[in-house]
């Protein structure tokens, strides 16, 4: 466990535009961590669990997760990350999505999501929310993954 290992931000977001806007606003908040962007669930999971430079094998990470993905539901990814015995169980997951359905929000928290943010349609609010998330990310302490084997 190295103290100063940089925290990678893994963004799973199928909408390129949203991803760009999120990144822009995080950068505006002064966060310069590496952001890895995936547009579908399968490659994202592959990276998270199996990539040699992925968080499971290598260093702490923070996951930004959209629920509406083309190939699988974001909640499935969340369930896999937070599953019992998963190396990423303690990795913070911020669900950032357009869905504001109460049931869905509850389900995400039940599955172990750490923060749930609904993307505001109004851009000023959206930018504001992301910037605040950035500020939040700059102070958050992220645990190292339990590297298996």
């Amino acid at each position: 466990m190295t103290e100063h290992q940089p925290v990678n931000i893994v963004m799973i977001e199928d909408d390129e535009g949203h991803a760009r806007l999120i990144e822009k606003n995080i950068r505006r908040a002064g966060i310069s961590n590496v952001i890895r962007h995936f547009t579908d669930g399968t490659t994202a999971l592959e990276y998270l669990f199996n990539a040699p430079d992925g968080p499971a094998k290598n260093g702490p990470a923070l996951i930004l997760l959209d629920l509406n993905l083309p190939d699988m539901s974001g909640t499935d990814i969340l369930a896999k990350i937070k599953a019992e015995g998963s190396p990423l169980k303690r990795t913070p997951v911020v669900v950032l999505t357009t869905t504001d359905d109460k049931v869905e929000i509850q389900r995400c928290y039940d599955l172990g999501c750490n923060v749930y943010i609904t993307k505001p349609v109004n851009y000023e609010n959206f930018a504001d929310a992301i910037r605040q998330l950035g500020l939040f990310l700059s102070v958050i302490q992220v645990p190292d993954p339990e590297i298996a084997g």
């Binding site: 535009g17 806007l21 993307k119 349609v121 109004n122 851009y123 930018a127």
Partner: protein, 500 residues
């Protein structure tokens, strides 16, 4: 349906008519029988009177005949013996005979056949009195001669005549009696005939009535069974349709929800990058301004125009349009969310509820200088939130679309119509063109001058809620006269009646 309703009504009517006809026929027969009985009774009494009369006539004749025989006996006594005792008996018997003849005369006064006979008897009696007198005053020789000439004795001849006339009278009375007996027999036979006919008629009517009733009852049974079957079918059909409708409704709500969510995603991009574009424009604008200051010949008019006017204008339009789209999507989302909300019926004091709504709108009411009047509204058991939303939307609309220059007057009334409760919001506002009466309830549709803020959601929302509560909403309105929105809801909403 085998028979249509009017046809069945007609059948029922003809049945009633037929039954009434038969019953009146039966009653007529009964009345006929009663009249016949009364008539017969009268006839009987009359006949009895007549028989009585004949009997007394006969008795009188017999009395008279006996009296005559007595007188004759007495006369013969006088002729044979000359004793004056016989004369006394004769006078006495004559008096009795005279009395009985008077009575006979009285009794037979009505009979034209008997009358001359009584007169004849009176005459004969008077003549006979003469012979009597002769007998009393005759000498012994004369008396012997009279006794000897029995055959030519005038008294004897008179007596014989009297006997004959009396016999004729008696015969006449007997004939009369026989005639009356016969008549009575005929009357009785006629009466029995009438009785038999009416009895037959009553039996016939009863039989036919029974038959008609039986047939009608059977028809009734058949139609009832059919009705039950149809009703069962209908219920099954309604259940099936309800399930289908609920499924369709759920489908639509899910669709609306998904669509509005999926529409939001690109909208975030459009709005986001428009903001980025605007930020970029500002940077470029600042640069162009700076350039124009330092190197005016490098900046031509077109660049200035593009940066200062064209770009802000385009961005402005994109912004307002996306904002509008955002509002519309939010409206759909809200409606679909309303559709998914659980309905909880509870008893509601509608008057108090309306008062609360009006109180919350008080600043608008004052601002518009309008006046809202709330009648005593009937209570209702329904979903409080929905009712509040509906009434609030209707009253707000009434306030919104008042006719400028006319003091606004809004009235909320209510009444119970069988198992439904009807609330009405009436205003004297600008009214709605009849062409738009249906349209105003459609989502995003509005009517008249578009001089008020809004997206055309309020009435669509009211209608969706009303449908959900098993109710209806409609409008009566005339341009420039005002509108009346009528909300008709089930008085008692059961939780099970509401689709999921």
């Amino acid at each position: 349906m085998a028979k249509s309703a009017p046809l069945r009504d007609k059948a029922h009517l003809s049945f009633t008519r037929r039954l009434l006809g038969l019953l009146s026929l039966g009653f007529l027969a009964l009345i006929g029988a009663a009249v016949a009985v009364a008539w017969l009774q009268g006839q009987n009494e009359e006949n009895a009177d007549w028989v009585q009369h004949t009997l007394s006539v006969e008795a009188q004749i017999a009395d008279f005949a006996r009296g005559i025989e007595r007188i004759e006996t007495a006369r013969r006594g006088v002729l044979l013996t000359g004793q004056p005792e016989f004369a006394e008996i004769m006078t006495e018997a004559f008096k009795a005979t005279r009395t009985s003849l008077d009575r006979l005369d009285g009794l037979t006064r009505d009979n034209p056949i008997q009358r001359p006979r009584t007169a004849q008897l009176v005459q004969l009696l008077a003549d006979y009195r003469q012979t009597e007198h002769e007998a009393l005053t005759a000498s012994l020789e004369q008396r012997r001669a009279i006794v000897r000439d029995f055959k030519t004795d005038r008294g004897v001849i008179l007596i014989q005549q009297v006997r004959r006339v009396a016999q004729q009278m008696l015969q006449e009375e007997r004939d009369l009696l026989a005639e009356r007996d016969e008549m009575q027999g005929r009357t009785l036979a006629f009466f029995y005939g009438v009785l038999a006919i009416t009895g037959l008629m009553i039996i016939l009517v009863a039989a036919v009535t029974l038959l008609v009733m039986l047939r009608y009852t059977r028809e009734l049974d058949v139609s009832r069974a059919e009705l039950r079957r149809l009703n069962d079918d209908l219920e099954t059909l309604v259940d099936e349709r309800t399930v289908e409708l609920q499924r369709a409704n759920q489908e639509i709500q899910r669709f609306a929800y998904i669509v509005s969510h999926d529409l939001r995603s690109p909208l975030v991009n459009v709005m986001g990058f428009t903001a980025e574009l605007d930020a970029a424009r500002k940077t470029v604008g600042a640069f162009v301004d700076k350039l124009a200051e330092e190197q005016p010949d490098l900046v031509d008019k077109d660049v200035k125009l593009a940066v200062d006017e064209d770009l802000p204008e385009a961005i402005g339009f994109i912004r307002t349009s996306t904002q509008k789209m955002d509002r519309l999507i939010n409206a759909i989302l809200r409606l679909s969310r309303e559709g998914r909300r659980t309905i909880a019926p509870e008893p509601i004091d509608a008057t108090a509820l309306t008062q609360t709504i009006v109180d919350s709108l008080q600043h608008k009411v004052t601002e518009k200088g309008a006046e809202i009047e709330i009648d005593t509204l009937p209570a209702i058991t329904t979903d409080r939130f929905s009712l509040e939303q509906m009434l609030s939307n209707l009253i707000e609309n009434a306030l919104k679309y008042l006719q400028p220059g006319r003091p606004g007057h809004i009235r909320v009334t209510g009444r119970v119509d069988r198992d439904r409760t009807v609330y009405e919001v009436t205003d004297n506002g600008r009214g709605i063109d009849p062409r738009d009466h249906d349209r105003v309830f459609d989502l995003f549709r509005r009517s008249g001058m578009q001089d008020q803020p809004g997206e055309g959601i309020g009435l669509a929302h009211v209608r969706a809620l009303a449908y959900r509560l098993g109710g209806l909403v409609d409008v009566r309105s005339e341009l420039d006269r005002g509108s009346t929105f009528r909300l008709s809801l089930p008085t008692v909403l059961k939780a099970g009646d509401v689709d999921a």
